[in-house]
């Protein structure tokens, strides 16, 4: 299960924060900050897994992250998820954003925050489970279709 999805920039500013488990706002910010400090220390050429430790749910949890240009995409998952799968998932997620915004950059995320949330739940993650999102290529097309449909639904209203 995915516990949380955090996207923040190189300075630790949160760009998208989605917790699938309830934490009070202060704790959420604290988690973002801690996570940021953990990932920041790491070079780009070392592995993308971090033992979660005390951060969210104890030793069962791992942080899996990817760094794209100015943004860190961090997924906090428990042991039922495949580590490599989540890495692919992040890739798919970023590709989806890329398709939504056409060459996504940090500014897009900043200014279209209302649009990227649907990109998360509509396209993929639901109820704390990174599930259908794990549909890889076949479904990445489908995800985009969903978003496309969503947009068209918006247009027609």
């Amino acid at each position: 299960m995915i516990q949380a999805i955090l996207v923040f920039n190189n300075h630790g500013k949160p760009r998208l924060v989605r917790f699938y488990q309830r934490f009070p706002e202060e704790i959420q910010q604290q988690i973002v900050r801690e996570t940021f400090h953990l990932v920041l220390k790491r070079d780009d050429n070392i592995c993308n897994f971090l033992e979660g430790g005390s951060l969210i749910g104890g030793s069962d949890y791992k942080l899996i992250y990817r760094h794209y240009a100015t943004l860190y995409f961090v997924f906090c998952v428990d042991s039922s998820e495949s580590e490599l799968g989540i890495l692919d998932l992040i890739q798919v997620f970023v590709e989806t954003l890329d398709k939504c915004f056409e060459n996504v950059c940090e500014l897009d995320l900043i200014f279209h925050m209302d649009k990227k949330f649907p990109a998360l739940p509509e396209g993929k993650i639901q109820g704390a489970n990174a599930r259908e999102l794990q549909m890889s290529e076949v479904h990445s097309a489908q995800i985009c279709r969903h978003i496309f449909l969503l947009d068209s639904a918006l247009l027609t209203e």
Binding site: D114, P121, Q126, R131, E157
Partner: protein
């Protein structure tokens, strides 16, 4: 009104939208907090306005602020307002805000229940979708209970998009409302075979997640998953299933055996690293569960290790990390196969990535042997020196200690080396693990007797340099080491070379800067040292020397008396008085040493940490009972009867027996040892209490290898462990030369003693004998210690509530709570109510379920056994016999024997052939039921073909759904088509509203143009009208809410209100659209006819046989019948067709005769009795409306005629 609207939109122009807010925050970097609080004030103003658009905008901004860490719970009510907006754009904003900020503590959340229910049943899939998504984030137990049924209905929605979401959210519902698991599970299971891969994978995910927490309840699903695993090509689903199997195998080793082969195949064939990795992981789990008594899998292990090596050697750090992670799992059971890759793992220790180094460290733990321990630790020590960052260094430190101390210091051959390693570790600055080192020092010094002398010398050196430690490392934990050092020097002071020197070191004023608990130990051990010195001096006749020591004590102790720490203060003042008293005695020339040393006489032995807990309460001892008579205190222990004494001795190992019959005791001890040696459950206890009697061949008297004298016993300053490595090498070399001789000796030793190493021989280590006697005194445990009970599960574990047996048949009481509609009919007759209540809580088509229901009371136990048998059967290594038809009397029975449902019926029917007539059945329903079960039991006894048939049927039951091939059918029928577009539609009765049907129209674009501006206009009839948006007239078209790019299809749903449902009817309609391609746009039209058949007004409603019987008995149903000839299709498929096309469900099936039930959207009950003859089928129907019935039967006739 209009003015207000205009005003509202003008106001909006001046409001900030989200973009403005973000921009504003970026422009106010210096006073961000101030700017935001200003914005929040604005938002509060906006929320007070009536205009929903303004509110939505405000909520949208709040959501952003929430992400930045601002509490927005005060706006919860406004969020709900926005959620209930009719416009999707606003609704979405509301749900998003809710999902981000609502939680169980939000009190207004209960207001949302109805809104959410409305959205869930909305005809627009996006409304439903957004509600589901939002709900998944903030579902509470109340919401879960109230909405479980609605969500379950959505699990069979026509749109995969909704089905998928509904399946996923069920997981959350289960968590919050565990009672829903059992009623919903059958349907969830069904979704495992959903045609849409997305839905399928969602179901797999949910079940995997459930099974991970309580695997044993899902064992029975193993065959189904196995089938999925071998058939699925979706890597994501495969990964999940394989992970699930990893969780299941520990419970069922036979499953593991079955898995090995397909997994190995996957490992060989797959190119996806993630899949490969998970396969390897599960194979490892399988091997672990099989580790005992499965010799043939060394090939699999080799394969795994090989593949992992490839991963570890990969340049991708992620793969390397995972490879090491998996390797550490293999290590636990198959250390040898990992050990061969030591080179690789040591290499990883040098990796620049800390995560990888840590993983490699984990692996090292299992790779050490007597041979390489020193080498590995040496390497680690160099890492300790190099490591920057205390976390990693601390990790190294704990690992070194772990590695060395594992399984009772099994791999340490030279404890002098180990002590010096520990001493070296004390030089680490800033470590948090001083107490760990201290504990090791104490442990080794206490348990390895031969090392005490050496340990004491090292410790006194440590104490000597204590000022160093104390001053520079006061801030961190390393001073804990002094605790151990002081205690060891005090307790084993007889080994001290220069006790006086050490005493002075311990009484230095600097000591008072140490933490209180260490000072306390200092004070206590100072006295031990003092007692020792006193004795030495007196024996040597140096009275003055003795007095000088006393004087030193009297001078120095007051510094402790002033300590702020109570413990230190108390001990110090106590001891100070004691010493002063001694001083007085000494002044009178009274010899005191003897008496002082009795204060500390005797030896302390290590006691196992759990020893106290494990002392069993002796039989007959009631701890709560009042003790009336105090034990007679005049009796001293050795005067007691022998038997009592003997027991006492065992239970209280610390007890010191005084002079007793030594021979007798020795004899008894021998006898007991013998007994213990033969008793595999006995935990060895130390021989300590009987120290004095050990002139019999005891631990002390085994000829030991003397400590090599070339090792300097006292190393000046701090020792270097390296020198021990060298010495150890020399020693080993010498040992080799003396090997033969030594072997002999060892054999002798083993014969005599109960040496630990003799019981733990490792072949590869055999030629290395330890330098020290490894006479590790095992920890004391009470004689008959209870076996350790594992810690109970955490009672607060949320998943615990989901530990529910899913194989047990559903009980009547187990239903999801349903909101009942206000239905005039239902209130009229209570018995008609039954089907309504049952609605949706049971699956309509699962006959198996019904049988279970029927026979629940009597057969519950049997069913359970049967389940187990099924699994057993599936797991048995022999290939399951093909589900071939069993020999049965008549041809159609033979045909039907394949389906499991039929099997049971056959068995029952073997006895009750003549009970087929419907009237008979109607009247004697209950009786028949009883007879049937009886009949079943009887037939079980007969060793006829029927049992075989059952056995053959079982794997099908679990392997699921190998039904007779029925051509795949769609409920969507063609409506109209032309070169541009193809329309198919499905008409469903709505469960939510009376007299409404939902028409789902799938539009498929077949052209290369984009279709847009689609409008659907339908001519209403008197009887049926389309639900249109408010304000639009009957003649207006209804827009289709999407566009269609080339080749794409999509579904739109429309609701129709029907007045009378007793007749079928047709509505004319037109679809108009604009087809746009490169050449331009054209207006196109397509006419169609919507055919509302009577069947489309029926909704599949399950009904129980007893309710069904009551309904028939009530007598207010009219009857009609129809017969069709020339039918060759099997009865099973026939029924399936009726169920599918006419929305019926099978109530009961007896041989070639079945009763079926359905219910119209207006509450008409329709009961059918379908009978199959040689080549014909007759259908008798009963219904509360005769017109409806006759129309229905006509439709059915048409369907059957096609068969």
């Amino acid at each position: 009104m209009a003015l207000k609207m205009v005003k509202g939109s003008i106001d909006r122009m001046f409001d900030k939208n989200l973009q403005d807010l973000v921009r504003g925050i970026r422009n106010h970097k210096e006073d961000e907090a101030k700017y935001i609080s200003q914005c929040i004030d604005e938002i509060k103003q906006e929320l007070k306005q009536d205009n929903i658009a303004v509110k939505a905008n405000a909520v949208c901004k709040l959501t952003y602020l929430q992400m930045l860490g601002y509490d927005i719970s005060w706006a919860a009510f406004n969020i709900i307002e926005v959620m209930s907006a009719s416009k999707f754009t606003f609704k979405r904003i509301g749900y998003l805000a809710a999902s981000q900020s609502f939680h169980e503590g939000t009190d207004v959340i209960m207001l949302t229940t109805n809104q959410i229910r409305k959205d869930l049943s909305s005809p627009s899939q996006y409304d439903t979708g957004v509600a589901l998504t939002g709900l998944s984030c903030f579902v509470t137990p109340d919401l879960a209970r109230d909405l479980a049924n609605d969500i379950m209905t959505l699990m069979s929605h026509t749109k995969p998009y909704i089905r998928k979401k509904a399946v996923l959210i069920m997981y959350k519902v289960f968590l919050k409302y565990p009672e829903s698991l059992r009623p919903a599970f059958p349907r969830l299971k069904e979704k495992l075979e959903d045609p849409d891969p997305g839905v399928q994978s969602a179901a797999v995910n949910v079940i995997c997640e459930l099974a991970r927490r309580n695997p044993k309840n899902y064992l029975s699903l193993a065959p189904l998953f196995f089938k999925l695993m071998t058939s699925s090509t979706n890597n994501w689903v495969l990964i999940k299933i394989i992970k699930l199997f990893g969780a299941l195998t520990p419970l069922e080793p036979r499953l593991g055996k079955k898995l090995i082969e397909p997994l190995t195949n996957l490992i060989h064939s797959t190119s996806a690293m993630s899949l490969l990795y998970e396969c390897v992981n599960t194979v490892i789990a399988v091997l672990i569960s099989l580790s005992s008594g499965m010799p043939n899998h060394s090939a699999s292990i080799q394969l795994c290790v090989q593949k992992l090596r490839i991963l570890i050697e990969d340049s991708d750090q992620n793969l390397k990390y995972l490879g090491l992670l998996a390797m550490s799992k293999i290590l636990k059971t198959h250390p040898k196969s990992v050990q061969s890759h030591k080179d690789l793992i040591l290499q990883c220790l040098d990796d620049k990535d800390e995560s990888i180094r840590l993983r490699a460290l984990d692996l090292l733990y299992g790779m050490v042997s007597k041979k390489n321990l020193m080498e590995i630790v040496k390497k680690l020590m160099t890492h300790v020196d190099k490591a920057e960052g205390t976390t990693y260094r601390d990790e190294l430190l704990t690992k070194i200690i772990d590695i060395c101390s594992q399984s009772n210091y099994q791999y340490i051959t030279n404890f002098e080396w180990y002590i010096s390693i520990l001493v070296e570790l004390t030089r680490l600055e800033g470590t948090r693990h001083g107490h760990l080192i201290a504990a090791q020092m104490l442990d080794v010094a206490i348990r390895v007797k031969a090392i005490r002398k050496f340990a004491v010398s090292q410790m006194s050196a440590l104490l000597d340099s204590a000022h160093l430690l104390a001053s520079s490392t006061q801030r961190n934990g390393i001073c804990e080491v002094l605790y151990a050092a002081a205690w060891i020097c005090g307790e084993f002071s007889e080994h001290l070379q220069e006790p006086h020197h050490t005493l002075e070191a311990m009484l230095r004023p600097k000591v008072t800067t140490l933490p209180g608990h260490i000072q306390a130990v200092y004070v206590q051990n100072v006295v031990k040292l003092y007692a020792n010195i006193l004795q030495q001096k007196e024996q040597a006749g140096e009275a003055e020397g003795a007095q000088a020591v006393t004087q030193l004590m009297v001078d120095r102790l007051p510094q402790f008396v002033q300590s702020a720490d109570l413990e230190v203060q108390e001990r110090a003042s106590c001891i100070l008085q004691l010493v002063k008293h001694i001083q007085k005695l000494q002044a009178k020339d009274v010899p005191v040493a003897e008496e002082v040393s009795t204060l500390f006489a005797g030896e302390l032995n290590p006691v196992a940490p759990k020893a106290q807990k494990k002392v069993p309460v002796p039989e007959g001892l009631d701890l709560d009972a009042w003790i009336n008579e105090p034990l007679s205190d005049s009796e001293s222990e050795d005067e007691r009867p022998r038997a009592v004494f003997h027991e006492e001795e065992q239970r209280r190992p610390k007890h010191r027996p005084s002079e007793a019959d030594e021979e007798e005791l020795a004899r008894r001890r021998e006898a007991r040892k013998q007994e213990q040696a033969n008793n595999p459950f006995y935990i060895k206890s130390s021989p300590s209490p009987q120290k004095r009697y050990q002139d019999a061949p005891g631990v002390e008297h085994i000829p030991v290898v003397q400590i090599d004298l070339s090792v300097p016993l006292k190393v000046p300053g701090l020792p270097m462990s390296d020198q021990y490595v060298k010495l150890e090498e020399e020693r080993r070399h010498r040992q080799k030369l003396e090997k033969d001789k030594r072997r002999k000796k060892r054999k002798e030793k083993e014969k005599k003693g109960k040496r630990r190493h003799s019981s733990l021989p490792t072949e590869s280590d055999e030629d290395i004998a330890p330098a020290q006697q490894v006479d590790i005194v095992t920890e004391e445990m009470p004689e008959n210690a209870l076996p350790s009970d594992e810690d109970d599960k955490d009672p607060n574990d949320p998943y615990r509530a989901l530990d529910i047996d899913l194989d047990k048949p559903l009980a009547d009481s187990e239903k999801l709570p349903i909101q009942k509609h206000r239905n005039a009919e239902t209130s009229k007759s209570p018995e008609k109510d039954v089907p309504v209540v049952e609605k949706k809580s049971k699956k309509p088509k699962k006959k198996e379920k019904k049988h279970k229901e029927k026979e629940r009371d009597k057969e519950k136990k049997k069913q359970k056994e049967k389940k187990a048998e099924d699994l057993d059967f599936w797991l048995s290594t022999t290939p399951p016999p093909a589900p071939a038809p069993a020999p049965a009397p008549s041809t159609h029975e033979c045909e039907d024997a394949k389906t499991e449902a039929q099997d049971e019926e056959d068995n029952a029917e073997g006895q009750d052939q003549d009970k087929k007539s419907p009237k008979h059945k109607k009247k004697k329903h209950k009786k028949e039921k009883e007879e049937r079960t009886k009949g079943k039991k009887k037939s079980k006894k007969q060793p006829l073909g029927s049992e075989e048939a059952e056995a053959a049927g079982e794997p099908v039951q679990n392997g699921a759904a190998e039904e007779e091939p029925l051509p795949p059918e769609s409920s969507y029928s063609l409506l109209a088509e032309n070169s541009y577009v193809k329309m198919t539609c499905d008409i469903r009765g709505s469960l939510q509203e009376d007299s409404q049907v939902t028409v789902a129209i799938v539009l498929e674009n077949r052209s290369s143009s984009i279709l847009k501006g689609m409008e659907l206009s339908v001519l209403d009839s008197l009887n049926a009208r389309m639900a249109r948006p408010q304000g639009s007239s009957v003649h207006d078209g209804v827009p289709v809410p999407f566009q269609l790019p080339p080749g794409v299809s999509n579904e739109a749903q429309y609701v129709f209100t029907i007045q009378s449902i007793v007749m079928a009817q047709k509505l004319k309609g037109t679809l108009s659209f604009i087809a746009k391609n490169d050449e331009g746009a054209t207006h196109e039209k397509l006419d169609f006819r919507l055919h509302f058949s009577c069947s489309s007004y029926l909704t599949t409603t399950p009904c129980y046989s007893d309710a069904f019987a009551k309904l028939l008995e009530s007598g207010d149903l009219s009857m009609s019948s129809v017969k069709v000839d020339g039918i060759r299709m099997s009865f099973q498929n026939l029924l399936a067709k009726i169920c599918f096309h006419h929305h019926f469900s099978v109530v009961e099936r007896v041989d070639s005769c079945a009763s079926m039930y359905s219910r119209s959207i207006q509450g008409h009950h329709v009961c059918l009795l379908v009978k199959k003859g040689e080549n014909s089928v007759s259908v008798d129907g009963k219904c509360s409306d005769s017109t409806l019935l006759s129309n229905l039967l006509e439709e059915m006739k048409a369907t059957l005629a096609k068969c």
